[in-house]
Symmetry: C2
Subunit: 230 residues, 2 copies
C-alpha cells in the first residue's frame, strides 16, 4: 500500500457526527475496491482503515471480523455489480444472445478506454475465497447461479416467442458465463482487453441466427497503462 489518499490535516478535537449508514458504506466502498485490486488476504484492515479514514472502533462496530466485512462486500456489492453489468442488460435486450453480445462489447469498450483490466469482481473473490471458507463459497456460488439463471430464463423467454429453438438454456447460460469469466481472467493476466472480443467472436459463430454481423477490423490493441497502484 502506498497510494496517496485524501488525508485530513489533523485538526484538534473534531466535531463528530454519527452517520452509521454512511460510514458503513464508506467502508464497503473501500473494501470492495481493495478486495478487487489487491485481493482479500493482501488487503489488511489497517489499509482499509487508512483508506476509508475510519477508526478501528468504528470499523469493528459495523463489521466485527474481516470475514464479516468480506461477506458483506460479496452479498451487497459483488452481487449488485453482477446484477447491474450483466443481469439487467441481458433482460433488457432484444434476446439472450443479443444481450450477451452487448455486455461483452460494453465491457470490452470500457476496459479499452480505461486502459487497465482489473478483472471480474466475482471471479477474483471466488478464486481466492471459495476454497478457504464454506460461507464464502456458498455466497459466491449463489451469485454465479443467479447469473446463469437470469440468462437461461431469458433464453426460455425467447423460445416462448418462437426464437432460438435449438438452444439449451442452461448450457448456453453456462457457456456464456464461463466464456466471460475465462476471457476476463486472460484479459486481466495479459492486460489485453481484446481477448474479450476474440472470445465473443468465437461465441457468436455458434449462434444459429444467420445474421453474422460485420466482424469489425481485427484490432489487437495492447492496453497496459497506469495500474491504479504500484
Amino acid at each position: 500500500m502506498s497510494a496517496e489518499m485524501t488525508v485530513r490535516p489533523k485538526p484538534g478535537p473534531r466535531k463528530r457526527i454519527n452517520d452509521p449508514e454512511g460510514m458503513r458504506n464508506k467502508v464497503l466502498d473501500v473494501a470492495e475496491d481493495a478486495f478487487q485490486a489487491r485481493g482479500y488476504h493482501a488487503s489488511s484492515i489497517g489499509d482499509l482503515m487508512a483508506a476509508a479514514d475510519v477508526s478501528g472502533g468504528a470499523l469493528h462496530h459495523h463489521f466485527p471480523t474481516k470475514k464479516a466485512l468480506a461477506l458483506a462486500v460479496i452479498d451487497e456489492r459483488v452481487a449488485a455489480a453482477v446484477e447491474e453489468t450483466w443481469i439487467a442488460p441481458v433482460l433488457a435486450a432484444a434476446s439472450a444472445r443479443e444481450g450477451v453480445r452487448a455486455v461483452f462489447e460494453a465491457v470490452a469498450a470500457e476496459l479499452e478506454q480505461q486502459g487497465f483490466v482489473r478483472g471480474c469482481p466475482l471471479n477474483n473473490l471466488a478464486h481466492e475465497l471459495s476454497l478457504a471458507d464454506p460461507d464464502f463459497r456458498i455466497a459466491l456460488a449463489g451469485i454465479f447461479a443467479g447469473w446463469r439463471q437470469a440468462i437461461a430464463d431469458k433464453v426460455r423467454a425467447d423460445q416462448q416467442a418462437g426464437r432460438d429453438e435449438g438452444t439449451d438454456p442452461e448450457r448456453f447460460a453456462a457457456l456464456a458465463v464461463a466464456a466471460y469469466s475465462g476471457a476476463m481472467s486472460m484479459a486481466k493476466t495479459a492486460q489485453d482487453a481484446s481477448l474479450l472480443r476474440d472470445c465473443l467472436a468465437g461465441l457468436e459463430r455458434s449462434a444459429p441466427s444467420p445474421s453474422q454481423g460485420g466482424l469489425a477490423a481485427r484490432r489487437r490493441r495492447r492496453v497496459l497503462l497506469r495500474p491504479k497502484t504500484l
Copy 2:
C-alpha cells in the same frame, strides 16, 4: 493448517544426506499443492516448511524469498501442468475440436471421481497474483499465451489438411481456453463438476462438424466430498 502429516518421531542426531535436487523438488511439490489449495498469501512459508519437513535454512538456500518460490512453481510446475493436461492431449488428438472435447471430458471425469474441485492451477494463481507483481503477471501471461497458441496451431494444421475451414484459429483457441477457465471457476465455486460438461455441450453446438455425437444423459451429480483439508 491442521492436516495430519507424516511427522518423524524425533530421533537423535540424524544421519544427514545432502540431496539438493530432491529437497528442491519436495519443496516445490508442497508449494504447488498449497498454492493451489489455499492460495499464495494464505500459505505461509512456515506451513510449507512443516508440510515438507524442511528447515528454514534449507528452504532459504534453494528459494531466497517467497516470491522466488512462487515464480519457480509457476515456471516449472504450473506450466508443466498445462502442457500435460492440455497441450499434449490436444496436439495428439485427431483434430483441435476433438482434442478440446477430449480434455474437457477427461477433466470432468477426473473431478467427478475424486469428488472435489480444486480449480485450475493456472487460473487460481493468475487471479491472485497477476495484479500483485509484474513478474508474476508476465510469467502467468506467458503460459496462457502458449496454451492458446498450441490450440490455434492445431486448428491451422487441421485447415492445411482441408478440415474446419471456417474457423478462426486464434478466436477458437481463445474461446476454448476461456470456456475451460470459466467453467473451472464455476465448478470450483459450486463444487459441481457437471458445469464443465454443460459448457462443453454449449461449445460443441458451435462446431461446423455435422457429427453431433450423442449428448449423454444429463446427469447433474453434485460432488461435494472430503475437501483435502479442513
